[in-house]
């Protein structure tokens, strides 16, 4: 994810119109961009469309890239594509929230095996599904901030660059997103650890 030897050289070549060089950048970042789009949109097909649109837009406008974090610059293109898709979804609501099947497929790779009881594993799986579903109900700006900060672990500074907003705005949006999601968790005490059930 972004581990490429000479990113700057590839970017310069892409700025000269070299598609093959740009495609190496695509291969390096596509997983991260797709996952960001997936957590924001909650739909695999819509996330794939947004990711493709983001890379196409990035290539078209790569001459506008003036240095700094290329990852943040790419994340801005994908969050813009997601915002476009969300506006489109709002006008034509149809599908969403199919995240669970994919989550289940890859959950085994994430959970530590043999350290938790089956009940505990199931509860944590439910808890994560709840978080993923609740995140999709957040307003778009808060949802994007939450996904970048808490799901993908970006710093406040990276998020501010990716969303083209101030650090204060990032902190404010993140705190509001967390408050809503936390309240959604607290509404399901049966999924929370013992300390919350007293």
């Amino acid at each position: 994810m972004g581990d490429i030897e000479d990113e700057e050289a590839l970017i310069r070549a892409a700025q000269r119109g070299d598609v093959a060089s740009f495609n190496q950048l695509v291969l390096a970042y596509q997983s991260q961009l797709y996952n960001v789009a997936y957590r924001i949109l909650g739909d695999a097909a819509a996330a794939a469309d947004a990711t493709q649109e983001a890379f196409l837009s990035a290539f078209t406008h790569i001459k506008d890239y003036r240095g700094g974090s290329f990852k943040s610059w790419l994340l801005r293109t994908v969050t813009n594509a997601c915002l476009d898709a969300l506006r489109y979804q709002r006008r034509r609501p149809s599908r969403s929230l199919e995240a669970e099947d994919d989550d289940e497929r890859s959950l085994a790779e994430v959970l530590p095996s043999g350290e938790e009881s089956p009940d505990s594993v199931a509860e944590r799986r439910e808890l994560r599904h709840l978080i993923a579903r609740a995140a999709l109900t957040l307003p778009p700006d808060q949802r994007i901030t939450f996904v970048l900060a808490d799901v993908h672990g970006l710093s406040y500074q990276e998020i501010a660059q990716a969303m083209n907003v101030s650090l204060g705005t990032v902190k404010s949006r993140l705190s509001r997103a967390r408050a809503k999601l936390r309240d959604a968790l607290l509404a399901h005490p049966e999924l929370l650890p013992d300390e919350f059930r007293q």
Partner: protein, 190 residues
């Protein structure tokens, strides 16, 4: 800083030493605040554990991507186009209402062709047409006032004046602008 921002900053370790000490003192005496902090910590920890999903395909671009035309991103946000369309529509309607409701400011002699001194065949026609100028037929514009043979046979043409007035032209332009902005604001994706 709001309490939620304090909680969020505390969980992220973003508070200064003094802020953190003050916040922890509150935590010690406020079980509800402690519960919210614990739940926020749990949320952040579990969110980080959400699994990465494998992309369904590669997103590499075709090698001729550099030559393909790409639609330019709109210059303004969607709401701006919608707002502009609404403003243009309201102005257009206001102009039409004003134009219909207001009495003609122009003297008759400026808009109407010269009338014969006497119109014995249809003496009421000019008065009616002054009351209902929009019923007039545009062909009246083309009638030369100096055609004596046509004057008695087309009295409505002589009385209706010109349909194309500056307010109507402006209203039409506003309508076209409203339609254009509306298409940009509602018609495009995003």
């Amino acid at each position: 800083m709001s309490e939620e921002e304090l909680i969020s900053a505390y969980v992220d370790g973003q508070l200064s030493e003094a802020e953190r000490a003050s916040f922890e003192a509150r935590l010690a005496s406020d079980p509800e605040l402690r519960r919210r902090v614990l739940a926020t910590r749990l949320l952040v920890r579990e969110a980080r554990q959400l699994p990465m999903v494998a992309p369904p395909r590669n997103f590499i671009l075709p090698l001729d991507a550099a030559r393909r035309p790409v639609a330019a991103r709109p210059r303004f946000p969607q709401w701006a186009y919608r707002f502009g369309a609404l403003v243009a529509t309201v102005l257009c309607i206001a102009l039409i209402v004003w134009d219909v409701g207001a009495p003609s400011a122009q003297p008759e002699s400026a808009t109407l062709p010269a009338q014969p001194a006497a119109q014995p065949l249809l003496p009421e026609a000019p008065a009616k047409e002054r009351l209902a100028p929009f019923d007039a037929e545009p062909r009246a514009l083309a009638l030369p006032e100096s055609t004596p043979a046509q004057t008695p046979s087309a009295p409505s043409a002589s009385a209706e004046g010109t349909w194309v007035t500056p307010p109507r032209v402006f209203a039409f332009l506003l309508l076209a602008l409203a339609i254009g902005l509306g298409m940009l604001g509602w018609g495009r994706r995003g």
